[in-house]
Amino acid sequence: MTKGRGQVAIVGAADTAVGKITDLDCQALCAVAAEKALADAGLNFADVDGLVTCNAMSQPFLYPAEALAEYLQIFPNYCVGLGAGGAAAVSVIQHAALAIEAGLCETVLITMADRLRSGLTREQARQMQSAAGHPEFETPYGPSAPALYALVAQAHMHAYGTSREALAAVAVTMREHAGLHPGAQKRDPISIEDVLSSRPVATPLNVLDCSLVSDGGAAIVLTSAERARNLRQPAVFLLGSGEGHSHEHLSAAHDLTRSAAVESGRQAYARAGLGPKDIDVAGLYDCFTPVVLVLLEDLGLCPRGESGAFVLDGGIRLGGALPVNPHGGLLSHCHPGNPGSMFHVTEMVTQLRGQAGKRQVPNAEVALVHAQGGTLSSHSTLILGSEATR
């Protein structure tokens, strides 16, 4: 256990509506999420002295955090716009916690939103697609974002004999979970057969192996453990965090089936003084089905090479050995881009408070959240715990 363990807590969390949103822009969605998260915490904008956000692809600003502070008319001591792709929303929590521990500020509002479904111009959508590859040494070969993850899936299948059905089972489980969340974008159940017969995108991945394209946002409020005691909701403590960075572009990856989630997870476990066996529920980044398999192995949540069997045996379902993404994840709840993993965080908070209703994991005390950006490139892990674990 290390300095800082349990010194900062999440005291407010909220999601906006997700799916297709046509009456609000990204800044307004950030404001809506912020207002809800502050109300959840029993706080208001005057209590916020730190602000963290990431840029919205559909409404970019040169300095997104400063632009959002201006929009909200708040004047923080600590104001950061962060970019690490999909890992950003988890990574920001580590940054915000450090700022609180260092005394730079006491209460940080983290709010982000994007509208990838209805807010992108044709040109923005085209640029986003082609931005995934290295502009000089990858993009000229025409790899789409799903194709990059398909290369990971193919390598995993070759290295460990992982079946096509195992990939599909990830999507099926996420949909099953989303069916229990009233706000999820896709709630109709699907079968392994449905995934296998859906439209091919980049072999072995089909449309149902790919995350949704969504509008939406979410916010959380972070403060010192001391202050957290007097607030409305049961506090959720940050027990440990870590990051890992191995490459940005897939052709520079040293290993296609083992990512820097290993290093990221190792740091988070060590700081929390906990291990994979202590995790009751996990929020794992699931932009494409193979990512969940790689992360389960890299984070030590199942033995290396056995993630396929683990998932096919129902290991990640509610009621299974380690329920993953009870809200339905990026595959079935929503994926508005950079803010996508915020929903994994808000779901873990809901689970640790025991407020998840029909999808509640019984006696959830310790949760792990892991997000990645790029193509298994940048990684960020958090371990969160209820009062009992502090």
Partner: protein, 142 residues
């Protein structure tokens, strides 16, 4: 850029020698004269010993497929007529891994471990894109 144009690489001062090699049918890699490390993409220094004595040498052009995918929904309009097209990660004999397309290769032929050899495709006067095809293609009887 018109919708029918392939996305072309943006050549930098450091990569000009690479693309010049491609234009004359040579796949060039940076070799470190101090530690022998071979690297791609080109850089200012050697990523192993941080030395700056780097030399361009022609690769054998041979490698093995580490992973591949057949793309059915193209990255951009320019690739639409090629679907499904193969994108692969290729481990070159000299060490570096690179992304490329597989040409003259059927879906049943392409697998992890397939031995491949470089070939060049002119995209315009200066950009000849390195592509790969199965090695020993010539020996295959119909």
């Amino acid at each position: 850029m018109s919708a029918n144009d392939y996305i072309l690489p943006r050549v930098t001062p450091l990569s000009a020698a690479y693309w010049e090699g491609c234009r004359i049918g040579e796949l060039r890699l940076q070799h470190c004269l101090d530690c022998g490390h071979v690297q791609l993409p080109p850089r200012f220094h050697c990523t192993r010993c941080r030395g700056s004595r780097l030399e361009w040498r022609a690769s054998s052009g041979r490698g093995r497929v580490e992973s591949f995918t057949w793309i059915h929904i193209p990255l951009a309009e320019a690739w639409a007529h090629e679907v499904p097209y193969a994108v692969a990660l290729i481990r070159l004999e000299e060490g570096p891994m690179m992304m490329s397309n597989l040409r003259e290769c059927s879906e049943s032929q392409l697998s992890v471990g397939l031995e491949v050899t470089v070939t060049f495709e002119a995209r315009n006067e200066t950009i000849h894109l390195p592509q790969f095809r199965p090695a020993g293609e010539e020996e295959v009887t119909p």
